[in-house]
């Protein structure tokens, strides 16, 4: 169940893909490093207050996205739109019509009843997943993106040169480059607060404990119990997202309890870290380079004219 129970297998393979028991040790931290921490975001109790977004912006001093220009998106109460360089928490709002039921399950999940069906309002606070196999970190050419001793992933702003490789590598569309200062930014899981023994600002501000912070192994156990409760209360569609160390990113440091398919929330259904295929990619590039060498050789093998 927990990543800590995973046997350490072939290191080279696991540095690119697959379960990884100790992500900080894999990054070179000594055995005395703190245990891996994370977020469990239980969307079934999210009330869409956006306190997490506000607390994040306040604590991290995030600038307004477009110098004072606030836009209404028309997407329910979501006027943030997506995670980005200046939005490290994003609350999604989804309005759905679902069949009426004699037993509506947990009442707070069904907000209004209409003719022939009920309106269900899904709210979810999205965040950087702090992947076990983080593509952004793997592809960063400068070493600006690093793994912390807590197993999280952060950008060092004084090193980043704005190449934007991480932007295209992230399978969740989380990290982005700021237009004004030219560097990539994303959630740090409040690295400064962690160093000071505090929980991240979003988790601190969340009034319903939809955002829970703690050691990742403990959170995974809490989540499996909570999942069973929600499913038993009449929501068999509930599922965990990012909690499985056997998934395509080796499990997320920030995982979720969802009440519908991931893509409904704007999440990729089954992301796989791109570096899984990196050895095969270099082999194909090697073949292509050999074709080039052969082509030049053939062109010059003919008569000297």
């Amino acid at each position: 169940m927990t990543s800590d129970s995973m046997p350490v297998a072939d290191g080279a393979r696991n540095s690119l893909y697959g379960p990884l028991a100790d992500v900080a040790a894999d990054a070179g931290y000594p055995g005395s490093h703190p245990e891996r921490v994370g977020f469990f975001t239980d969307t079934s109790v999210c009330i869409g207050c956006k306190a997490c977004e506000v607390a994040c912006k306040e604590w991290n001093g995030l600038p307004d996205p477009e110098a004072g220009a606030l836009a209404l998106t028309g997407m329910s109460y979501d006027n943030t739109g997506a995670l980005g360089s200046n939005s490290w928490r994003h609350v999604a709002f989804i309005e759905q019509t679902v069949p009426s039921r004699a037993d509506p399950g947990e009442p707070e999940l069904i907000s209004a009843v209409a003719d022939g069906g009920a309106t269900r309002w899904l709210m979810a606070s999205d965040v950087c997943k702090h992947c076990t196999h983080a593509a952004c970190l793997d592809v960063c050419p400068t070493g600006a993106l690093v793994r912390t001793e807590f197993g999280t992933v952060i950008v060092q702003p004084d090193v980043c040169n704005g190449c934007a490789y991480c932007v295209s590598a992230c399978p969740f569309g989380v990290i982005d480059r700021r237009d004004d200062d030219g560097r990539a930014w994303k959630c740090t899981m409040c690295y400064d607060r962690l160093r000071g023994g505090l929980e991240p600002a979003c988790a601190k501000a969340c009034p319903t404990d939809s955002i829970q912070f703690g050691p990742l192994a403990e959170l995974r156990e809490i989540a499996s119990v909570r999942l069973a409760d929600v499913q038993a209360s009449g929501h068999p569609e509930a599922r965990l997202y990012g909690a499985d160390p056997d998934d395509g990113i080796g499990g997320a440091g920030a995982f979720f309890l969802l009440l519908d398919a991931p893509e409904v929330y704007g999440l990729p259904p089954d992301p796989v870290v791109t570096t899984k295929d990196l050895p095969a990619m270099w082999r194909w590039a090697g073949t292509a380079a050999a074709v080039l060498a052969a082509g030049v050789a053939v062109a010059f093998a003919g008569r000297r004219r």
Binding site: A135, V159, C160, C163, D247, E263, T274, A299, F300
Partner: protein
């Protein structure tokens, strides 16, 4: 080119149709120009070394000067692409095998040094043996410089790039041959030693065949994987690239006898190579902007996974 069956997932859903991925920040003309100039420099370095060994001094001289010019112009576009260009040297702060851009930066740095030395020796006429040695070295960095961008683009979450990891390197090394061959043909149209440049015409023809084949491979990737290369801005550019490159390849065969044919071939092949690079960037952006490509590739790959 027959139309592939389009099979969007039956239960395709999204969050207000918004992209799941961030669309690449790499822009036009910087990225396509860098890809073109990098592969040009890589192949010209090989042409320079081969011409040197086989006794074609005029061709060797032109190729070495062109390789240096291509490397520096490409490097300029690459630097201008950065959010913080003044921190370009941070690229050489670490050497990371998991980052194709890190590997590429080291390849470009080594290649630029070697082609500069060989071009400087060519221009000044001094230290000819060292210049030849540097030129020979650049014949080893050249194919790496031409091929690595295929890995650079494929090692992302962008569906049209990642799923094309077999085709993209071949598109770029084929393009390297056409670009270098076209440069040779262009010079031969103005040169007095035209027989020396026959090899450039042959290289252009071989390259046009390889590049067209790789482009065909992109277009025929099944279902949604190849759609951004068949339709939309990427598809239109790749179609243009195909006609230009194939036309240029045919013209290259006549370039030995006619200066006009050599010039026409050079123009067509250069245009085709550039269009192919623009096509790849535009196809990648199209596939990142529409969530259906992300959902389709992941639902097909592992049906019944955690999300289903």
């Amino acid at each position: 080119m027959t139309e592939q069956p389009q099979v969007p997932p039956a239960d395709f859903q999204s969050y207000y149709g918004r992209p799941i991925l961030k669309v690449s920040r790499w822009k036009e003309p910087h990225l396509p120009a860098y890809l073109f100039l990098g592969e040009l420099s890589g192949a010209l370095a090989m042409v320079g070394a081969a011409a040197d060994v086989t006794g074609r001094p005029s061709l060797a001289r032109a190729a070495r000067l062109g390789a240096a010019a291509g490397a520096f112009a490409g490097g300029a576009f690459l630097t201008a692409e950065l959010g913080r260009p003044e921190r370009f040297l941070n690229m050489l702060r670490v050497a990371k095998p998991t980052s194709p851009m890190s590997m590429g930066s080291w390849i470009l740095a080594a290649h630029s040094g070697l082609v500069s030395a060989s071009a400087a020796s060519e221009l000044t006429g001094r230290l000819a043996s060292l210049g030849s040695l540097a030129g020979a070295g650049s014949a080893l960095t050249g194919p790496l410089l031409a091929a690595y961008p295929g890995v650079l683009l494929a090692n992302t979450a962008v569906p049209a790039w990642h799923e094309a990891y077999r085709q993209l390197p071949l598109l770029f090394t084929g393009g390297a041959m056409t670009a270098a061959g076209a440069a040779g043909l262009a010079v031969s149209a103005l040169s007095r030693d035209r027989p020396e440049f026959a090899a450039a015409g042959r290289l252009a023809f071989i390259g046009a065949a390889v590049e067209s084949l790789a482009g065909y491979g992109l277009e025929t990737m099944p279902g949604l994987a190849g759609e951004p290369y068949r339709t939309g801005p990427g598809g239109r550019m790749l179609t243009a690239a195909r006609y230009l490159t194939m036309g240029g390849g045919v013209a290259a065969l006549a370039g030995r006898r006619s200066r006009t044919a050599a010039a026409v071939s050079a123009a067509l092949l250069t245009g085709g190579g550039l269009c192919a690079k623009f096509a790849v960037l535009r196809a990648g952006k199209a596939s990142a902007a529409d969530p259906k490509y992300v959902v389709a590739s992941q639902r097909v790959a592992r049906p019944g996974s955690q999300g289903a």
